[in-house]
Symmetry: C2
Subunit: 341 residues, 2 copies
Amino acid sequence: MANDGINREIRLASRPNGFPQDSDFELAETAILEPGEGEVLVRNVYMSVDPYMRSRMSAAKSYAANFDVGEAMTGGAVGQVVKSRSDVLAEGDWVNSMLGWREYYAADGGSLMKIDPELAPVSKALGVLGLTGWTAYVGLLDLGQPKEGETVFVSAASGAVGSIVGQLAKLKGCRVVGSAGSPEKVARALEVGYDDAFDYKQETFADALDRLCPDGIDVYFENVGGDHLDAALPRMRVFGRIVVCGLISQYNDTELRRGPSLTPLLVNRVTIRGFIVSDHFDRLPDFLRDMSQWYREGKITDEETVVEGIENAPAAFMGLLRGENRGKMLVKIGPDTPLPA
Amino acid sequence: MANDGINREIRLASRPNGFPQDSDFELAETAILEPGEGEVLVRNVYMSVDPYMRSRMSAAKSYAANFDVGEAMTGGAVGQVVKSRSDVLAEGDWVNSMLGWREYYAADGGSLMKIDPELAPVSKALGVLGLTGWTAYVGLLDLGQPKEGETVFVSAASGAVGSIVGQLAKLKGCRVVGSAGSPEKVARALEVGYDDAFDYKQETFADALDRLCPDGIDVYFENVGGDHLDAALPRMRVFGRIVVCGLISQYNDTELRRGPSLTPLLVNRVTIRGFIVSDHFDRLPDFLRDMSQWYREGKITDEETVVEGIENAPAAFMGLLRGENRGKMLVKIGPDTPLPA
């Protein structure tokens, strides 16, 4: 095994107060564990950084368990089995796990999801064919219920989830409008198929939505919160649906930010629903079947922003919170070819 | 015909700015119309005043068409046919219409809903067996989806809708907690079957909900808005449902009041849904069947606050907005026995 038997991992050094800082994270070294009976040793190659992780760094209750200070964090990661004492996984197999933020781990072979490297590049299992794509699929299709000819508005349109939501909405015959935080991101949203997109740093939401959704919004897929939601709710059409996937603009707030008036919700019989994809495991097989097919057929494309080196994972995460990614933000932890034995 | 051929009606004299005033209403006299071919002449006996009428007095878009200044207002009313040129209604028949705020009207016989005075006192067709009961039924049962053992919280628990919602929730095996604005209303809520109720003028919502719903709220049936909603949303349980039936505390606001932070909605995967019962006509037959049966069996009881005289209808409406009613607020326009010919 390479790497001198040393595993490097990122631990939560302290709970961020507001926007996270370098000092909230710590790079630590441990010995690489030997797999026990039934276990495999996995070398991570890609890990995902996601906005929801910010909540897990806080002490406040959230939908996922909080990270413990002083412990390695967790999150989606794709890696390769380098040693197996399991009947279900062999050396060289690729697996998806929630054991990111570390180079190596040992785990029960049955607890890992094997992925097929022939289907798509393995990193896609963290993006369009993984949690990100599944989130877009369940959130838009099941909860947003878009109908042909409807207007769908998506915040963070060029983000990992947003860029897939926009493409799914187009597949369903909707008109899709997105917001993004730079001219380059607007261009990217248009590239993946958005009918229109605007740069919210150049134009108020109110002006942009009045211009691009003059007849209102049927489905709002919300990734951002804050000013976005304030502007969108009063512009929802009758029976409109707001699917709250994320509120990234609010994650670093040190006090709760008030929401929009709910009077328009009553007047227009709007539904606002918060969701977490892990409540919808029943739809995982459908998602994998549909999205794999759409991906193979080129109907859904994706983009990755890849940062190299586990030591740069905190910077990648903070960059994500600042919107420095286009599409899926990944950290490449090690080479994606097998290491020499 | 009695009354010297004169119809009295209440017109909207001006659009209220904030809380309505006497001068926003005008009592006017017109000739009683002769029914045309196919029409009936109806003498109203009871009319309903409802919070939603406040929105119709404004110029702002709402879910129901706005009243026109200088015209008689409309709303639920029960009356008796005094002259018929219709094949479907005979003199003496009782009918439910949306032509309240006036003593007499002529209308096509086919446009009116005949009611059976043997089933229940005719005024019930405006309350428990009418729009009010239908609102409670659809809002709680269809949209709130209460399950046995869940905790249901209802604002304005002793109001027309709230008192029925509480009883329906008990029928479904839920624990039901209500808020009300006086010790008498709290007592009334407990009388109809609420497990607990609190006087929000004596205790903060936060304290009361922490005390009475220590494990959180599964279904919140919202009639009031404002501070109620601010306190309830962060106390919703995972997968909680907030059904927004009314926001009476906000109807007289001259600017939109911000809502609660939606961060807890995401964390706990809460759904907030605004609704108007008239979108749910498909459920009217089920409602009439079920509620008539529950009413006859004494499983659902109701209470009425009756103000006498059409000239007092504006005062009744303003009293409703101030919470002076217990149960259904009605105006008795004329005697409920046939007038001498």
